[in-house]
Amino acid sequence: MLVVDGIRRSFGDRLVLDDVGFTVERGRLTGFVGGNGAGKTTTMRIILGVLSADAGTVTLDGTRLGPDQRRLFGYMPEERGLYPKMKVAEQIAYLARLHGVDRTTATERAHALLERLGLGARADEPLENLSLGNQQRAQIAAALVHEPEVLVLDEPFSGLDPLAVDVVVGVLAEYAAGGAPVLFSSHQLDVVERLCDDLVIIADGRIRAAGPREQLRAAHSEPRWEIDSAGDVGWLRGVPGVEVLDFDGGWAVFTTADDAVAQGVLRRALDSAPVASFAPVRSTLAEIFREVVADRTPEEAVR
């Protein structure tokens, strides 16, 4: 597994990463979320050794990362970078060759990968002829062509249409299933929510929360229930210990500290009208994110 520990980094007088530490488990897709300028890209660049840390370590299975380990990484930088005038397949193959793959294998792999990412027909065109979304696919191919054992991808989904997102998600899941640690950042919280197993939330250069997604959800959710019934549930407002958050005829969202009270609500609802659904409401990632990021004291964040 990939362990980031105690990373500190300043640009001039500005401390951009302050004691950043988290773990990317093998076989797990780990989502890295944070606002603009929170430190995601800087952290990823430090993991790849593209930027040096002022303090702290990055280890893979206990070994400090050096050029030999980093060669096994697949990396997608935040600002997409490939040669605009070079043919797509050619530059993907070039990157594979820089990893020591021989020319024939590199070319075969580049074409196979582009085919899979839906760029087969454009493989022999210069990159600059491609649309932004397709350039993005080429960038993903560049990160994968040397069959990396660890993936670090900065915003891999930005600019992709939903079908392309699915293709990329498929590839990432496959890598994770093969036992690779996969770390990716994204602004698209719905994609992260759908895809990742673990979450790392960063704000102002500090890790605010990290851990399995469900655990975070549970920890950051006030116990809330949603009820959808055929009859009017206006009586909810009168139940002791219940606070109604949202209400619309037979539908309501309410919170209560006591499970037994919630069960009582359900029984009463069943007695008065057919109930279509009754379920606890989990916080969405966006809600957790807002809560965690707004919370300025990292001590209170769940680890």
């Binding site: 797990r28 930088p77 970078g81 605009p84 020591g100 792999r109 699915d166 890598y175 036992g179």
Partner: protein
């Protein structure tokens, strides 16, 4: 959306906390990467990586239309100027020479020579001094062993006359020897111009590629794989190969054109300096190339590249202007021929003018070589430290300090 989350990472089980995305066909090569198990080609060393980078640089240039066109234009210009020179030179009237007494027989029936008989040596020399004849052919002094005649000319060696004579007589010049002003100017100008065009052309290519890689962030991808030094070495190597090939091609075209148009005489004078020029150019270009690359690595955007390149541009253009304005000033030329940045032009010009001793180009080449090694090391440090710094221009002090 499933909410279970009980997969043990160590068993390598597929994550289930996802809306299982449609699994595509198997990984290319039919295997899902298994950390620590797949056989992996050994990582290329610095040299191999540099060669790969160099190969890409060369291929990118060779395939670009602008490069092919500019090379063709350059070669064409050299060819045309030499052929044109030959055609114009061929129309020169027969050389008039004054002859005295028995010396007349030597010049008689010689193609391209028009003898003007005069009474005595004093009259012949008067004609030479007035410029009416290019030289005077006089009977040899009694104490001149062997030669039948001696030749007196004003300020330039009457090579046409000398070549025409079967025997090589002693030539006495009334004024200190000077190479033909026009030829002198043209050859100096030629060396200077070829150096200027090739060095700025390929230097700018290196600078542009460096900034382009920085601007497009390819460099992050590259540096995650190969070292900055390998990248720099490959860039310099690739472009030096191109620049050297182009310069050698120009030299070859020049030699071939001179030979075909029968200008053996010029060829004889230019031949050796031309070989030295190509040799000096090779080292001198590597020197400039590392400065171009290091300078360009300081900025992140194409728009800023002009400012950082102006010092090295000046260094590249200096030899051209110096040689054009001072090609008749031996002191300036001597200094030029030892200063590493101008030696590639200065030394060949001095060799052409016959002003340099045999050991001088060797010493100058050593000076150039040592300087180049030093500058490469310095340039590599700057390149290494500023390649990943984006945003405003990196100050030289920042790149070298700490």
């Amino acid at each position: 959306m499933s909410t279970t989350h009980d997969v043990d990472a160590r068993t390598g089980g597929a994550p289930t906390g996802t809306t299982a995305p449609a699994r595509g066909p198997a990984e290319p090569g039919g295997r899902v990467p298994r950390p620590g198990h797949g056989e992996r080609p050994p990582a290329p060393g610095t040299v191999r990586a540099a060669l790969l980078v160099a190969e890409r640089e060369v291929m990118a240039q060779v395939r670009s239309k602008s490069f092919l066109i500019s090379t063709a234009v350059l070669l064409g210009a050299v060819l045309v100027s030499i052929v044109l020179g030959s055609v114009l030179g061929g129309r020169v009237d027969a050389e008039r020479v004054a002859v005295v007494g028995s010396a007349a027989s030597v010049v008689e029936d010689q193609e391209g020579l028009e003898p003007v008989e005069v009474a005595d040596e004093a009259a012949a020399i008067a004609l030479v001094e007035s410029g009416e004849v290019s030289a005077a052919v006089l009977p040899a002094d009694d104490d001149d062993a062997g030669a039948a005649v001696r030749i007196v000319a004003l300020s330039e060696n009457p090579s046409g006359l000398v070549m025409a004579l079967a025997e090589q007589p002693e030539v006495e010049l009334l004024e200190p020897p000077r190479a033909d002003e026009a030829v002198r100017y043209l050859v100096s100008f030629g060396f200077g111009l070829v150096f200027l065009i090739s060095a700025t052309g390929f230097g700018s290519t290196i600078a542009q590629n460096t900034v382009q890689e920085k601007q497009s962030r390819v460099v992050e991808l590259l540096l995650a794989t190969v070292s900055a030094r390998a990248l720099l070495a490959g860039k310099i190597l690739g472009n030096s190969v191109l620049a050297f090939t182009q310069t050698a091609a120009i030299a070859a075209v020049a030699v071939a054109a001179l030979a075909v148009t029968g200008q053996d005489e010029v060829l004889g004078m230019v031949g050796a300096p031309l070989v030295w020029f190509v040799l000096f150019f090779l080292v001198g270009f590597v020197l400039l190339a590392s400065i171009y690359a290091a300078s360009a690595s300081l900025v992140s955007r194409m728009e800023d590249v002009g400012t950082v390149l102006s010092p090295v541009m000046m260094l590249t253009m200096a030899p051209y202007f110096l040689v054009v304005f001072f090609n008749d000033n031996p002191t300036v030329l001597t200094i030029m021929s030892y200063v590493p940045f101008s030696a590639p032009v200065g030394m060949p010009v001095r060799l052409f003018l016959g002003e340099a001793a045999w050991w001088e180009p060797l010493v100058s080449l050593v000076v150039l070589g040592v300087t180049t090694v030093g500058v490469i090391l310095l340039g590599a440090t700057i390149y290494d430290r500023s390649l990943l710094r984006t945003g405003p221009r990196v100050r030289l002090r920042e790149a070298l300090g700490r």
